[in-house]
């Protein structure tokens, strides 16, 4: 073991790899910050107009409502890019992912007044604690703390194995909203059991749906109900304004005035939205707990090199999907028709006799990986795409205005954008070429958010963007991608020439020189710095035979093969030695090299 460790420590390739790794880490960090600063600055410099998009009229509201003569402004769906790039840094992501509702926590809800819900891995059950308003016999109201244990087989106030075990549950995070909790129903999907559950808190029952079949359009749900990537951050990135009606005309008809609502309760009426790993958005029937159909899919924003036809949730930096439902309240006394907002039926002095909810369709937004482009798409109740809008920047060219895709505009159309783009480009080209090329091939492998904290691969680089381009001829796409790292390749070639020349001077063997050339071509500046740190630190002397620098630790000149001669020393012609040793003042015949690689 000692010999192995010593051998490792003194072995030249090991030393080179160790030094190379240290240099790679220490060089990648400043380059990361340079890219991060440029990208963040580019985003902040984007005009607000290029960060938002809207569709008006929304195309989902029935014509009789949208085109009502009393309507002064049509319905409008708007979306804005609100993603803050620093939030993708690891240290923030670490804590955010562990807050209630985050991806690495089993706590779904936590309120300081004493209501919470979490998944207990040990028992496999959800535990929900809340305060229930009750009335004492003497009519005094009080709040009683209730703790429920929820399993696939039922709900109970005591922990009981008979309730069963969830294995990998996903809950509808929309339920954490206080408005939605009024419904007293919670939907759960278990990834391992592959079926949906409906928890009724009033009845304290669990209803289990059938297993997802192979024919289902949704095979691997990743989110249900509230389909929003960043639960804790950037709420209300998608907003909705219903048709605005003149206030004096409110009660002119006796018809019940429907309430159109798409608030953050993510209520889809009789359905629940289910997001699949592939980007498909399914509709779950809340009664039968089966997938009733497809409501749409996540839209693909237009980036610098265009957009793909389909996009997965992991490819988007942010997404949000809101269903639009038409809620109609019916009253026995038509004179008590009121205009009200939302499902807040408790605001009514009298409860409506009947409430009807009709699903109209969904609005889906997606933000590109680099956060520079957003797409907003409207899907009707059958899941057909009606309209799509993409963020654009209106570029002034004289008297004309030309809309430019925001994914392109971000790099050139704002003050200082060109300088920052060049800075980003330079930082990418100082990166090892081999890692840049690897970024091309692994462009889609990284989750969008994680790409912003990647150190060694560059999923948000220009070459990676090219790698994600809509597939055409592979060779053409690859070689055009190489143009994007041309400065990096040129730098690597120049550095490898320098390394090669120096290696000859320093007396490295042919094989070692070849490895260094290949290494420098692959790793560029990193390899060059590593070479400078690991090259033999020996003062070269002039060979008497060929006149070129030679290494004193080699018995023969590595250039001309001549033996040693130290002309500045004039040893005496005599010796007084024991035995019959002959004077040999010519260079030594010892072939041994010390410290030679």
């Amino acid at each position: 073991m000692k010999t192995l460790i010593k051998g490792l420590a003194l072995n030249y390739p090991v030393k080179v790899f160790a030094t190379g790794l240290v240099v790679l880490v220490l060089l990648s960090l400043p380059l990361f910050w340079m890219r991060f600063t440029c990208e963040t600055s580019l985003f902040f410099r984007m005009s607000n107009e290029a960060k938002g998009v809207s569709i008006a009229p929304s195309l989902l509201v029935p014509d009789e409502l949208e085109k009502d003569p009393n309507v002064v402004s049509p319905s409008r769906a708007s979306a804005n890019i609100r993603y803050q790039r620093p939030m993708s840094l690891g240290i923030f992501d670490y804590f955010i992912a562990r807050l209630p509702g985050g991806r690495f926590t089993n706590v779904y809800l936590f309120k300081s007044y004493g209501e919470w819900m979490y998944f207990d891995i040990k028992t496999g059950q959800l535990v929900h604690s809340y305060l229930e308003e009750q009335v004492m016999p003497d009519k005094t109201p009080f709040r009683k703390k209730v703790q429920l244990y929820i399993g696939p087989e039922g709900v109970s106030e005591t922990a009981d194995k008979a309730l069963g075990r969830f294995i990998n549950p996903i809950i509808d995070h929309g339920w954490t909203d206080v408005m939605q909790r009024q419904s007293r129903e919670l939907m759960i999907f278990d990834k391992k059991l592959r079926c949906f559950f409906k928890i009724d808190f009033n009845q304290r029952t669990t209803t289990k749906g059938p297993k997802i079949g192979k024919e289902s359009p949704v095979q691997k749900p990743i989110k249900i109900g509230r389909l929003s990537k960043n639960l804790w951050l950037f709420e209300d990135h998608l907003s909705w304004i219903p048709p605005q009606i003149k206030s004096s005309d409110k009660n002119q008809s006796n018809k019940p005035i429907p309430i159109i609502q798409t608030y953050l309760n993510h209520d889809a009426g009789p359905y629940l939205l289910v997001l699949d790993e592939s980007g498909e958005i399914g509709l779950l029937d809340k009664e039968s707990l089966t997938i009733a159909g497809v409501s749409g899919r996540l839209p693909a924003p237009e980036t610098y090199f265009g957009s793909k036809s389909t996009v997965r949730p992991r490819d988007l930096l942010d997404y949000e999907v809101l269903p639009l439902i038409l809620t109609t309240y019916f009253f026995e006394d038509p004179e008590e028709v009121r205009m009200a907002f939302g499902d807040m039926s408790y605001f009514f002095k009298r409860k409506p006799s009947r409430v009807e909810k009709n699903y109209l369709g969904i609005f889906a937004t997606g933000v590109s990986r680099d956060g520079s482009a957003l797409a907003l798409t409207v899907f009707d109740e059958k899941g057909k795409e009606i309209e799509s809008e993409y963020t654009k920047f209106n570029k002034q060219e004289g008297l004309r205005t030309t809309p430019v895709n925001s994914g392109k505009a971000v790099f050139f159309e704002a003050p200082w954008a060109s300088t920052l783009t060049i800075g980003k480009y330079l930082a990418e080209n100082l990166h090892p070429p081999i890692l840049s090329i690897a970024s091309y091939f692994t462009a889609s492998a990284f989750e969008a958010d994680a790409g912003h904290r990647a150190l060694f691969f560059l999923p948000n680089s220009f070459i990676a963007m090219k790698g994600r381009e809509r597939p055409v001829n592979f060779a053409e796409r690859f070689f055009s991608a190489l143009w994007l790292i041309l400065p990096s390749i040129i730098l690597a070639i120049l550095l490898s020439i320098r390394v090669s020349k120096d290696a000859v001077v320093v007396g490295l063997s042919e094989n070692t020189r070849l490895y260094w050339i290949i290494g420098t071509l692959a790793f560029g500046l990193t390899a060059y710095i590593t070479y400078r740190l690991t090259r033999p630190k020996i003062t070269l002397l002039t060979c008497q035979n060929c006149g070129r620098p030679r290494r004193p630790d080699m018995a023969k000149c590595h250039r001309c093969g001549s033996k040693w001669n130290v002309p500045e020393l004039i040893p005496p012609a005599w010796r007084v030695l024991n035995g019959t040793e002959q004077i040999d003042d010519s260079s030594t015949t010892d072939e041994e090299k010390t410290g030679v690689e």
């Binding site: 000692k2 010593k6 490792l8 420590a9 003194l10 090991v14 030393k15 790899f17 160790a18 030094t19 190379g20 790794l21 240290v22 880490v25 220490l26 960090l29 400043p30 990361f32 910050w33 840094l89 690891g90 240290i91 923030f92 992501d93 670490y94 562990r98 926590t105 089993n106 706590v107 936590f110 300081s112 919470w116 979490y118 207990d120 535990v127 604690s129 904290r453 150190l455 410290g595």
Partner: protein
Amino acid sequence: MFALIKREVRDHIVYFIGAAAFSAVFIIMAISILHNYDLRRQPPAFSIVLGIPAITIVIFGICAMGSTQMYLDRTRKISALLSTLAISRNRILLARIITGILAILTLLVPLIITAVILMRFVSFLFPFPMFPGIVFNISVTVFLMAFACYCIGLQAGWNSNPLTPSLGALCLTCILLPLIIVKGFGLHILVILVLFIVASLLRTWHTFMTTSL
């Protein structure tokens, strides 16, 4: 080996005292924060604002220790004397590294114990594990980061020019430390730091074993 470690500890006792003092200060701060703030409402943001520069200073101190150990050895020819005694260069360097680890542990172990105890108290506020594994993740990351910066100090310190150990180590630590901001406290940073530490130590080992004393 014990004698070597004892020698190193005694020669650099000021770092151990500093580590213990910082540890005590952090513990008092943590207890004070928990006492004065209701964490159910909002964690005190100033604790993060103060905590980050404090940890930075501490890690610079650890780096300085590595740098000082090697610089003083080189200028005072300590290893030249020691390697003529019944010990090898391997052991001299190993004792040095163990001393560095002990200094880091002097700083971190009391903090970790306090954190675990305080988390137990905090768990009364939260009836479920609110941030499971957070103490472990942060402790391991901070330990590895401190050790990595210490290794940078060891590499930069083996120089007879006093500027190189101080400025060089400082610059490289300033570059490495923000890795925590980039990667957070998860598995990725642990892998990077472990590889960095192994590579750094191999380099230091090679330099120390082949240099003239």
